[in-house]
C-alpha cells in the first residue's frame, strides 16, 4: 500500500506521465464519490425499500471524467491530433449505440449514459479542432473572441432578423406539421414575453421575478371577459393589455424605492399573490378548476371549426371554394401561428423603437445611475412606472394569446417556473438584446421539445447550461450594446471605436 502511495506521490518526469497520473487521481476521486452517488440506486418495492448496484454507471463516470481530464490536459499541451481522433472515434461509437439497437458496442443499459459519452466526446473533439486551427491552447482570450462574435452578430442583426422573419413567415408552408407549428407558436410566445420582460429587466434594470403575474392577468382578463360577456378575442386583446398594464402600475407603486434583491423578492411575492388569488377566488375565476371553453380567435368573424355555431360562418365554408381547401384542424393552428407572429413582430418593432426614444434612453440611464438621473431632472417614478406598465402590457397580450390558444386556463399554468424561464431567456440572450432573446427562446424552449425523451434531465441540463453561460458569457450570449444614436454614423463606428478613441486621446 505504501509503495503505491509513494508511486503516486512522486512527480513523474514526462508530460504524458504527469497527465496520466492526474487522470488516474481524478478517476479515483470520481470512483470514491460516484460509488455512492451513482453506484447505488434505491428502489421502492412493495416489500419495502431495497437497493441495486450500478457498477457499469460508476465505471462510465470514472472513464468520462478521467478521459476528459486527460484530453483537456493534452489539449493544453497542444497535443491535439490524438485527442481529436480518440474523441471522434469514441463519440461515434457512443452515438452509434444510442441510435442502433443491434450495434451495442457500449455495455451500458441506460441510453442516457451513451448520450453523455457522446456529448463528452463531441465536446473534446470541438476543443481539439479549435486548438488545431489556432495552433495553440485556447486559454488565450476566449472572452474577447466571444465579444467580437457578439459585436459582429449585432452588426449583422438587421440581415439576420430579415432572414428569421422570412423563415418564420414560411415555416407553416415548409413544415405543415402540427408538431412543428405548435413549437413555433411556443417559441414565438416566449420571444414576445422575453421582449416584454426585456423592457423591465434589460433596459430599466429592474429585476422582476414575478413577470408571470402579468401573463396570468392577461390570460384571465380575456378568459373572464369571454366567459361572462361573450366578448371576442380581438375585442379583448387590447383590454387584456390594458388590465395587465394597470396591474403593472399597481405593482410598480410600492416597489419604487426598492432596488436589486429587495425588488426581486417583492416582485416574486407579487407573482405568487396573483396565482393564490386566482386559486382562492373560486366563484369568480373558477379556482383550481380554471376556465374552460375559451373561444378561439376568428378570422374577421370566420371561425376555424368544422361546424360553427348558429349564425357564424366558418373559414373553410367561405374560403374553401375559392382556395380549393377542405376543412383541416391544422388551419386553426397555422392561423394561431400567424397571429402570434404578427403580435410578436409588433412587440419587437415597438420595443426597438422605444429604446431609441427619450423614454428608452431614460430607462437605460436609470439602470446605470438613478442618482445621476435625478440630478438631470428625470422623474424616476414616472420612468420606472412606464417601464413596469409597458412590460406588463406586453405580458398581458401574451397571456390573452395563451388563453385563446389553450382554450383552457388554470392557475397551474402561471407558476414561478414560468417567470424563471422568461427571465432566463432574457438573461441568457444578453440583457437588452432583441436577437439574443430569440436565440435564447429557441434554445430554452425548442431544445427541450426536441429532446423529449430526455425530459427527466431537463432541469439538470438547464442548470448546467446556466452555470456554463455565467462562466463564459456572464452578460448573456449577445451582450453587446449598440448606442441608440450615433454622431459619426455607422461607418465610423465600424472603422473601430478603438481607433477613434486613441486619436482623441493623442
Amino acid at each position: 500500500m505504501t509503495g503505491f502511495v509513494d508511486t503516486i506521490a512522486r512527480e513523474p518526469k514526462s508530460l504524458v506521465g504527469r497527465i496520466a497520473k492526474d487522470a488516474i487521481i481524478t478517476g479515483i476521486i470520481v470512483f470514491i464519490l460516484g460509488s455512492q452517488l451513482v453506484g447505488i440506486e434505491t428502489i421502492d418495492d412493495p416489500q419495502g425499500l431495497r437497493f441495486e448496484t450500478r457498477y457499469l454507471d460508476v465505471l462510465a463516470a470514472v472513464l468520462i471524467v478521467a478521459g476528459g481530464r486527460a484530453g483537456l490536459h493534452l489539449l493544453r499541451a497542444a497535443i491535439a491530433w490524438p485527442v481529436l481522433i480518440g474523441s471522434v472515434v469514441f463519440s461515434a461509437i457512443a452515438i452509434g449505440s444510442t441510435f442502433n439497437e443491434g450495434w451495442q458496442l457500449l455495455p451500458f443499459s441506460n441510453p442516457i449514459v451513451d448520450w453523455i459519452f457522446a456529448m463528452a466526446g463531441v465536446f473534446l473533439a470541438i476543443r481539439s479542432v479549435v486548438v488545431l486551427i489556432r495552433g495553440r491552447a485556447p486559454a488565450g482570450k476566449p472572452t474577447s473572441t466571444m465579444d467580437m462574435i457578439s459585436a459582429q452578430t449585432q452588426r449583422f442583426s438587421p440581415y439576420a432578423a430579415l432572414a428569421m422573419i422570412g423563415f418564420a413567415l414560411l415555416l407553416p408552408v415548409l413544415f405543415p406539421e402540427r408538431r412543428v407549428v405548435d413549437m413555433g407558436i411556443l417559441v414565438l410566445t416566449y420571444c414576445m414575453l422575453g421582449w416584454g420582460l426585456n423592457v423591465v429587466v434589460g433596459l430599466a434594470g429592474l429585476l422582476d421575478l414575478g413577470y408571470v403575474a402579468f401573463y396570468a392577468v392577461g390570460a384571465y382578463s380575456y378568459a373572464l371577459f369571454a366567459h361572462y360577456f361573450d366578448w371576442s378575442f380581438w375585442a379583448c386583446l387590447p383590454l387584456a393589455g390594458a388590465m395587465a398594464a394597470f396591474f403593472g402600475l399597481i405593482l410598480g407603486f410600492p416597489v419604487l424605492r426598492l432596488r436589486g434583491d429587495y425588488l426581486a423578492i417583492v416582485t416574486l411575492g407579487f407573482g405568487e399573490m396573483i396565482r393564490v388569488i386566482l386559486i382562492n377566488w373560486w366563484w369568480f375565476t373558477g379556482g383550481p378548476d380554471g376556465i374552460r371553453d375559451i373561444p378561439r380567435p376568428t378570422f374577421f368573424g370566420l371561425a376555424f371549426e368544422k361546424t360553427a355555431a348558429e349564425g357564424v360562418a366558418t373559414f373553410h365554408s367561405v374560403f374553401g371554394p375559392i382556395l380549393d381547401i377542405e376543412f383541416e384542424p391544422l388551419h386553426r393552428i397555422i392561423y394561431l401561428y400567424y397571429i402570434i407572429l404578427l403580435l410578436s413582430m409588433i412587440v419587437c418593432a415597438f420595443t426597438l423603437r422605444l429604446r431609441r426614444l427619450p423614454i428608452g434612453r431614460a430607462w437605460e440611464a436609470l439602470r446605470e445611475d438613478e442618482t445621476a438621473c435625478r440630478a438631470l431632472g428625470i422623474n424616476p417614478r414616472n420612468t420606472k412606472l412606464t417601464a413596469f406598465a409597458i412590460g406588463a402590457m406586453i405580458g398581458g397580450f401574451g397571456g390573452a394569446f395563451f388563453a385563446t390558444r389553450q382554450g383552457f386556463i388554470s392557475p397551474e399554468s402561471f407558476t414561478f417556473i414560468e417567470s424563471a424561464v422568461i427571465l432566463a431567456i432574457v438573461v441568457l440572450g444578453g440583457l437588452g438584446s432583441q436577437l439574443g432573446v430569440v436565440l435564447a427562446a429557441a434554445i430554452l424552449i425548442g431544445l427541450p421539445e426536441i429532446f423529449r425523451e430526455l425530459a427527466d434531465f431537463r432541469m439538470l441540463a438547464f442548470g448546467a447550461g446556466m452555470v456554463l453561460i455565467m462562466i463564459w458569457r456572464p452578460r448573456g450570449f449577445l451582450a453587446h450594446r449598440d448606442p441608440t444614436v450615433l454622431l459619426h454614423g455607422k461607418k465610423a463606428q465600424r472603422a473601430g471605436p478603438r481607433a477613434m478613441a486613441s486619436e482623441g486621446a493623442g
Partner: protein, 303 residues
C-alpha cells in the same frame, strides 16, 4: 504643481477681470441647517450666488460643503432654512421641491464628487439623456416618437446639435460614440460638466471638479469654467479643495468650517482673513486648550 502649467497661460488667466460685473441675484441661502441625528453638519449658513459669477465654497475636510450641495439639489431635505431661486420677480423654494424638479424646473444642475456618468451609454447618449424633459415633450410623451413624426425628429436633431456643441467645447467630438465609461478620468470629469450644461441650467453646481486632475487638465478645466460663466451667462457654484483653482477663478468665496460660515467675500479678502487661516493652518497649541489645562500644563510637563 503650478510649475507644469505654461507660465504664459497662467499670466493670461490672472489678467482676466477678477470680478465680473455681477448679474442679478440667483440664489439666496438663508439659515440653512442640516442635522443628522446628533451631528450638526451645517449650522445656520447663509450666502448668495449671482448670475455670471463663480461662487467658490471652500473649507477643510468635513466642513459640510457637499452637504450644502446635497441640500441645494434636493438629495437631502434641510432641517431648517430657506433656499430661494430668483426667476426675475418670481421665486422658487428649493427645500419644498421634489428632487428631480430642482433640475427640471428650477434649472439647477450639479456634478458629483465621484463621477456619476452612465458608463455603458455612449458619450453622445449621456448628453442626450440630459435633454430628456425637452425631448419627452417634443416626442409627445413617446406617442409622436413611436409614430416617427417629423416634430420629434427635428427635436432630436437639435438635441444632437447641442450635444455636439458641448462635445466640441470639451474636446470629445472624436469619442462621441464610445461608451462613457471607457473615457480617461479627466475626460469623464469634463463630460459630466457638459452633461450638466445640457439641461440648460441657470446655476451650475460643481462638486470638486478638479479632484484627481493633473495640472494641465486642471488648467483646461479653469478655462472651461470661465467660458461657461462668460458665454452662457449663468452662475457657477464651485466646491474645491485645490486652492490654486478656487483663488484663480472664483469671483466670490464662501468659507465653511465645522458646518459654520466663517468668511465670505472676494478671493483677496478671504485669503487674508484670520479665521480662514486658522481653519486651514490650525492655531498655536496653547490657544486651543481650556484655561484649566493651560494652567496645569507647565507642572505636568516639568519632569
Amino acid at each position: 504643481m503650478s510649475a507644469a502649467v505654461p507660465a504664459a497661460a497662467q499670466a493670461a488667466e490672472r489678467s482676466e477681470p477678477a470680478a465680473q460685473p455681477a448679474g442679478r441675484k440667483l440664489l439666496t441661502v438663508e439659515h440653512l441647517t442640516m442635522r443628522f441625528g446628533g451631528l450638526l453638519a451645517i449650522d445656520d449658513v447663509s450666502f448668495e450666488a449671482y448670475d455670471r459669477q463663480i461662487t467658490g465654497i471652500i473649507g477643510p475636510n468635513g466642513a459640510g460643503k457637499t452637504t450644502v450641495f446635497n441640500c441645494l439639489t434636493g438629495f437631502y431635505k434641510p432641517t431648517a432654512g430657506r433656499l430661494t431661486v430668483h426667476h426675475g420677480d418670481s421665486r422658487q423654494f428649493l427645500e419644498r421641491m421634489e428632487g428631480f424638479r430642482i433640475a427640471k424646473d428650477a434649472r439647477i444642475a450639479r456634478t458629483f464628487q465621484n463621477i456619476r456618468l452612465f458608463p455603458a451609454m455612449s458619450v453622445l447618449e449621456n448628453l442626450i439623456v440630459a435633454q430628456h424633459n425637452h425631448l419627452m415633450r417634443a416626442s409627445g410623451y413617446s406617442v409622436f416618437g413611436i409614430l416617427g413624426l417629423r416634430r420629434y425628429r427635428t427635436a432630436e436633431r437639435a438635441a444632437i446639435g447641442k450635444a455636439r456643441y458641448w462635445l466640441d467645447k470639451i474636446g470629445l467630438v472624436a469619442q462621441a460614440d464610445v461608451p462613457a465609461g471607457s473615457l480617461p478620468y479627466g475626460a469623464q470629469r469634463r463630460l459630466e460638466i457638459a452633461r450638466a450644461m445640457c439641461i440648460d441650467p441657470r446655476l451650475l453646481c460643481l462638486d470638486e471638479p478638479a479632484a484627481g486632475l493633473n495640472p494641465t487638465e486642471s488648467h483646461e478645466l479653469n478655462q472651461l469654467l470661465i467660458s461657461i460663466r462668460d458665454e452662457q451667462n449663468i452662475g457657477v457654484l464651485l466646491i474645491e479643495h485645490d486652492m490654486s483653482v478656487v483663488m484663480r477663478i472664483s469671483d466670490h468665496i464662501v468659507v465653511l468650517d465645522y458646518g459654520r460660515k466663517i468668511a465670505d467675500g472676494s478671493p483677496e479678502t478671504v485669503r487674508t482673513d484670520p479665521n480662514v487661516i486658522r481653519a486651514y493652518l490650525g492655531e498655536e497649541e496653547d490657544k486651543q486648550l481650556p484655561d484649566v489645562v493651560k494652567r496645569d500644563l507647565p507642572e505636568v510637563t516639568r519632569e
